[in-house]
C-alpha cells in the first residue's frame, strides 16, 4: 500500500508539474498542486517531478507467503477436449514452479472430464484436482466459482493462471473478487521472484506501454493469459501425478442460470490455428481487393485476416480480426499488407515467428516490429508475387 504526498514547498513551476501527468490528474490552483481522483498511480510524477511528489509506502500487515505454495492452472475444456491454452499455461507454470521449488497444480472442472486428467499430467501437472459433475456441463458462473474456491481453499496455491478465454475471463475475476486479491488480465510475460511474487507484464493504455505488475501483499495471485501467448511445452513422460477427485454438495451447485439451448456454430477454423496468415489493413482500398490477398493466402496454404478497421467496415468476419480486441495469432509467417501497425494490432501478432510487412508509408509503425519491412505498393508487389508463385508451380 502506498500513497503520494506533495511537497508544496518544492513546487517551482506548477504548470510543468501539471503537464507531467498523462491522465490530467494533477491540477494547479495558484501555486498549490493537487492530485485529483483521475490519478492512475502510474508514478510518472514521482520519477519526473523533481522531488515534489513522494511515494509513501504504508506499513501493512504482510501475509505469510510461505503458507501459499504452488502454481495452479485452471484447465479449460472445450467440446470434451482440453483447450490448448491449458497446455501453454502448464508449460509456464512448470517453469515458474521450478524456480521456487513449488509443485504445479491443475484444476479440472466439467462433466465427464475425469479421463482428461492424464493429459494434464503429460504437460507437467504434479497434482490434478478433478470436479466432475453434471452441474458443470456448461460453464455457469456460480457452480464453477464454487469449485475453484473449494480447490483454492484446500490447496492454497501462490499463483493461479487462467486462460484468457470467455470462461476464464469470467471465472478469474469472480475468484479474485471472492479472495479479495489481485488479478492481472492478458499478461504477455510472466516470471516469478524468489519471494514468490509473480512478475506480470501486460500491455497497458492501448498497448503503447508495457506495465510490470505485482501483487505483493495478497495471495493467491491471479493472472489471465490469452491463447497462443506462450508456447505449448514438450510432453513429459506421464509421471506419477496425483489425482484428487472432489464432489461438491448440491447446495454448492445452485445457479441462477439455466442453459436453454446450445447451438453449435459452423466450424470456421480459427485464424489462431493458421501457420501462415496474410493480414489486410486500411491500405486495401476496396473490399473486392481482398480477393487478391485471399488468393495469396491460399497459395501459401494460409488464412486471410485483418485489422479492426476492416472488420468494422464489414469487409471481414470478426473472427478474422487480429489485435487486442480480436484474436492473438502466432503463425510461422505473417505478411501484412497495407497495415499501419497500430499497437492494438501489433499486440495480437507480434509473437509471430516471421513478420513481413508491405506498406507504402515508410514511417508506418508496423516497420518497428516487422522482421522484413518492404516499403512499397502492395497493389504492385502482391500481383507480381502471385504471378511468380503460379509460374513456379506450372514449371514444377
Amino acid at each position: 500500500m502506498a500513497h503520494i504526498i506533495i511537497h508544496q514547498e518544492k513546487v517551482a513551476d506548477p504548470q510543468e508539474l501539471v503537464r507531467l501527468c498523462p491522465f490530467g490528474a494533477i491540477e494547479a490552483d495558484g501555486g498549490r498542486v493537487e492530485i485529483t481522483s483521475g490519478c492512475r498511480m502510474c508514478r510518472n510524477c514521482i520519477k519526473r517531478g523533481n522531488g515534489v511528489f513522494e511515494l509513501v509506502e504504508d506499513a501493512s500487515p504482510a501475509i505469510d507467503k510461505s503458507r501459499w505454495r504452488g502454481i495452479a492452472v485452471i484447465a479449460e475444456v472445450e467440446e470434451g477436449a482440453v483447450h490448448p491454452v491449458t497446455f501453454e499455461l502448464l508449460g509456464k507454470a512448470k517453469e515458474l514452479a521450478a524456480k521456487i521449488g513449488h509443485p504445479v497444480y491443475a484444476l479440472l472442472i466439467g462433466s465427464g472430464v475425469t479421463p482428461l486428467a492424464g493429459k494434464l499430467a503429460e504437460y507437467g501437472a504434479d497434482e490434478i484436482h478433478v470436479y466432475d459433475q453434471e452441474a458443470f456441463r456448461y460453464f455457469r458462473i456460480e457452480p464453477c466459482t464454487a469449485a475453484a474456491e473449494d480447490f483454492i481453499r484446500k490447496v492454497r496455491p501462490s499463483a493461479v493462471l487462467v486462460g484468457g478465454t470467455p470462461a476464464g475471463r469470467s471465472l478469474a475475476p469472480r475468484l479474485a473478487a471472492r479472495f479479495r486479491t489481485g488479478l492481472t488480465a492478458d499478461c504477455t510475460r510472466l516470471d516469478i521472484s524468489e519471494n514468490t511474487d509473480l512478475d506480470q507484464i501486460r500491455p497497458a493504455y492501448g498497448g503503447n506501454i508495457m506495465a510490470h505488475i505485482n501483487t505483493p501483499r495478497h495471495r493467491p495471485q491471479f493472472a489471465t493469459v490469452r491463447y497462443k501467448i506462450f508456447p505449448i511445452p514438450a510432453k513429459t513422460a506421464a509421471s506419477a501425478a496425483k489425482i484428487v477427485t472432489v464432489r461438491l454438495p448440491p447446495e454448492k451447485l445452485l445457479s441462477g442460470i439455466e442453459i436453454l439451448d446450445a447451438e453449435p456454430k459452423e466450424k470456421l477454423r480459427g485464424i489462431e490455428e493458421a501457420e501462415v496468415i496474410v493480414a489486410a489493413g486500411r491500405g486495401v482500398r476496396k473490399p473486392e481487393d481482398l480477393a487478391m490477398l485471399q488468393e495469396l493466402a491460399e497459395l501459401l496454404d494460409g488464412r486471410l485476416a485483418g485489422t479492426r478497421a476492416l472488420v468494422e467496415a464489414g469487409w471481414l468476419d470478426a473472427r478474422c480480426q487480429i489485435g487486442l480486441s480480436g484474436r492473438t495469432v502466432k503463425p510461422k509467417l505473417i505478411i501484412t499488407c497495407g497495415v499501419s501497425g497500430a499497437v492494438q494490432f501489433a499486440a495480437g501478432m507480434n509473437g509471430s515467428e516471421r513478420i513481413i510487412a508491405i506498406n507504402s508509408d515508410p514511417e508506418a509503425p508496423i516497420f518497428n516490429i516487422a522482421h522484413i519491412g518492404i516499403r512499397g505498393d502492395l497493389y504492385r508487389i502482391v500481383p507480381e508475387l502471385i504471378a511468380g508463385i503460379k509460374q513456379s508451380r506450372r514449371e514444377d
Binding site: H3, P22, F23, A25, T36, S37, R40, M41, R43, N44, E79, I141, T165, R169, A172, P173, R174, A177, R180, G182, L183, A185, D186, P203, A204, Y205, G206, G207, N208, I209, M210, H212, I213, S255, I257, I259, L260, A262, E263, G270, L300, S325, K332, V343, A346, N350, F367, N368, I369, H371, I372, G373, I374, G376, R380, I381, E384, L385, G388, S392
Partner: protein, 266 residues
C-alpha cells in the same frame, strides 16, 4: 425493470506513448469521451426500458469532469446518474474499482439488472463486470450478443461463444456484459439535452458509501501494484527492403521459397 448501467469516461485517444529515451509519457491531448463499449450497454438498457418500462440509472467513477459522460447518458435517455468521485478512490486497480462500483451501485438504490460494456478502451481488462457481480453476490453472464426477452423474474440472453451460441435464462437481480453491436447505439438527443440540462447528478464520496473504511479504496486497497512501465521492445532482427515493385516481389518470392513456404501445395 430497474436497470443500472456502469459507464466510464476514457481518454479520447488510446495513443498514450512513452518516450523510449527518457521514459516520459507523451500526453496527446486530454479530451475525453464515453467508453465506446458503454454505449452498447446503455442502448441495451434503453431498449429494455422501451419494452418493459422501468428506470435507468447510470453509475460512473472518476474525477468531477466525468459528469460529462453522465450528461451524455441523460441525452440518450437515462433517468438518473451518480458519479463516484473522491480523491481517495484514485489509483484503484480492477479489484478496488469493482468494489467501489459495487458500493456506488448499492448507494444508488435497488436494481433488477446491471449492464456493463464488454470492456473499456483504456484499461482493456474486461474484468470489472464479473468482479462487480461477485461483490454484489449476483450471477452474471459476460459477452451477451442478444436479448431474447424478459419476464418478471428473469432475462433470457444469447451468448456468442467460440463453438456455441448459448441461450440462457438468468434470474434477476443479475449482471450482464454486452458485446459491441448488440444494438446500434442512438445518438444523444438535443431535446433530451435541453430537458435534462438541470437534472442533478448524485456525487458519491466515501462518506456516502456503506463501507467508509478508506483502506478499502483507491491505491491503498488495491492488491496489484504497477512496479514500472516501459516501452514495448522493438524487433531486433530487422531488414528494410526498398526498390521497384517487381524487384521487391521477386525478392519476396525468393525469400518465401528459401524458407519453404511455397512447397506445400505444389
Amino acid at each position: 425493470m430497474r436497470i443500472t448501467v456502469c459507464i466510464k469516461q476514457v481518454p479520447g485517444t488510446s495513443q498514450v506513448e512513452i518516450d523510449p529515451e527518457t521514459g516520459v509519457l507523451k500526453r496527446d491531448g486530454v479530451e475525453s469521451k464515453m467508453n465506446p463499449f458503454d454505449l452498447y450497454a446503455l442502448e441495451t438498457a434503453l431498449r429494455l426500458k422501451q419494452r418493459y418500462g422501468g428506470r435507468i440509472t447510470v453509475v460512473s467513477m472518476g474525477p468531477p469532469q466525468a459528469q460529462a459522460v453522465i450528461r451524455e447518458a441523460f441525452m440518450m435517455g437515462a433517468d438518473r446518474g451518480f458519479l463516484l468521485s473522491d480523491r481517495k478512490f484514485g489509483g484503484a486497480d480492477v479489484l478496488v474499482t469493482s468494489y467501489t462500483l459495487s458500493q456506488g451501485v448499492r448507494a444508488a438504490g435497488d436494481f433488477d439488472l446491471i449492464i456493463c460494456g464488454k470492456q473499456t478502451t483504456d484499461g482493456d481488462t474486461a474484468q470489472v463486470g464479473a468482479e462487480l457481480a461477485e461483490f454484489l453476490g449476483i450471477p452474471h453472464i459476460a459477452g451477451v450478443c442478444r436479448i431474447e426477452g424478459a419476464d418478471s423474474s428473469s432475462l433470457t440472453v444469447v451468448q456468442d461463444l467460440p463453438l456455441h451460441r448459448l441461450t440462457a435464462k438468468i434470474a434477476m437481480p443479475c449482471l450482464i456484459t454486452v458485446e459491441k453491436d448488440i444494438y446500434e447505439p442512438r445518438l444523444p438527443s438535443y431535446k433530451l439535452m435541453c430537458a435534462t440540462s438541470d437534472r442533478e447528478i448524485g456525487v458519491l464520496t466515501l462518506a456516502d458509501l456503506a463501507d467508509r473504511d478508506a483502506s478499502h479504496y483507491g491505491l491503498n486497497g488495491s492488491p496489484t501494484q504497477v512496479k514500472r512501465i516501459f516501452p514495448p521492445e522493438k524487433s531486433d532482427r530487422q531488414e528494410k527492403w526498398d526498390g521497384p515493385a517487381d524487384a521487391l516481389a521477386e525478392r519476396l518470392f525468393k525469400y518465401l521459397d528459401e524458407h519453404k513456404f511455397l512447397q506445400k501445395l505444389g
